[in-house]
């Protein structure tokens, strides 16, 4: 089981702010998809720190990212 960040893509696409992608400590992990206009998480690379949630929810009050438990099969 892993604790990872997951982006609510529909909600995220309404803002297109890209701020979270600039604060994740990991490279190539929290990415922005230009075609779909949303951030997305490369889950096997996410370390579950929840810094992106701090940026999206606490700083920007946008609440587009939540932390979830996933299993290897997910």
């Amino acid at each position: 089981m892993y604790y990872v960040a997951r982006v609510d893509e529909e909600k995220c696409a309404t803002y297109k702010c890209k701020q979270c992608t600039l604060f994740c400590p990991e490279a190539n992990t929290l990415m922005f998809d230009d075609d779909r206009n949303t951030a997305w998480v490369n889950e096997p690379r996410c370390k579950g720190c929840a810094l992106c949630v701090y940026v999206c929810s606490d700083l920007l009050k946008r609440d587009c990212i939540e932390m979830v438990m996933v299993t290897a099969e997910d």
Binding site: L22, F32, K47, G48, C49, L51, D58
Partner: protein, 290 residues
């Protein structure tokens, strides 16, 4: 080093790992990618074993995204946390013995100047507070006294993080750590003041909270070292483990420390200031033309 080494020989590309191919196709080599596009291209830093939510790991990420010429850069690290990530990037990395980074960098910079007299090859040391201001203190200071032309970046987590929490010269006075249970009795070493006295031509103190500013000072430090002399960046990169900071509050902590005692400071000699004004003016003009 050099762009030619990144391009695979004809016919080989299809056999390379996907991450490498992505780096060739979507990486930053050979073009200037603004740090604001992090998350939208293939970054040169790969997966690494630094802790979740580590602000030093974050700094290393921004560092690699800010290098003016990653294909012509050699990074020198040493024992301590940062090298765990520094060594996992598509940039040549040298592990200097603990304390010796700035001596290794001095020799390397001189050798590169002899081998490539007409090319810019950048040498950057990235090491911890213990590595640079305690055990490597004399090597660090003497490289500055000798005016060696490379950049030194101190990732200051105010503790010996990698070895489990001993007090460092950069720990703040009074702080209690696992292996300093009585509290530190001395002041934090004024590293940036020492750097200025010892002859660094560009000196910065920064808490990485504003990514554009971090990128700007890294680029400036590398460029000033190319042409003028030693440059130094003192960055606050907390240890969430030894200082018990919940991972999601690491940025909040950096912002608080920035307000309290890690406010942005930038020093440069007149010569360096004139140089930046000139190149930044040229860059603006080039942008306007586009």
């Amino acid at each position: 080093m050099g762009l030619k080494y990144i391009q695979p020989a004809p016919g080989f590309k299809e056999y390379l790992p996907k991450d490498y191919v992505d780096l060739i196709d979507f990486g930053p080599f050979g073009k200037e990618v603004d740090v604001q596009y992090m998350g939208q291209y293939k970054e040169i830093l790969e997966e690494h074993p630094m802790c979740a939510g580590c602000w030093m790991a974050y700094f290393v990420r921004v560092f690699y995204a800010s290098l003016p010429n990653p294909e012509d850069t050699i990074v020198i690290g040493t024992a301590g946390c940062a090298r765990l990530a520094l060594s996992q990037a598509a940039v040549p990395f040298i592990y200097g013995n603990y304390g010796d980074t700035n001596a290794v960098a001095s020799g390397l910079t001189r050798a590169l100047n002899i081998r490539f007299p007409d090319k810019n090859k950048d040498v950057v040391v990235v090491a911890g507070d213990g590595g640079l201001m305690d055990i490597g203190f004399s090597m660090t200071l003497h490289s500055w006294f000798r005016k060696e032309k490379f950049t030194t970046i101190m990732v200051d987590n105010e503790v010996y993080g990698n070895t489990g929490g001993q007090e460092s010269g950069m720990s703040p006075k009074g702080v209690q750590l696992k292996m300093a249970p009585k509290g530190k009795k001395f002041e934090k070493i004024p590293a940036t003041e020492l750097a200025k006295l010892a002859g660094c031509v560009y000196v910065v103190k920064i808490a990485p909270t504003n990514i554009k500013r971090v990128a700007k000072v890294i680029k400036r430090a590398v460029l000033a070292a190319r042409h003028f002399g030693p440059t130094f960046i003192h960055a606050y990169t907390s240890c969430n483990i030894e200082y018990s900071i919940p991972t999601e509050e690491v940025l909040k902590d950096a912002r608080e420390r920035e307000k309290k005692d890690f406010g942005f400071e930038e020093y440069m000699t007149d010569e360096v200031r004139e140089y930046f004004e000139e190149i930044e003016k040229k860059e603006k003009e080039a942008k306007a033309k586009k």
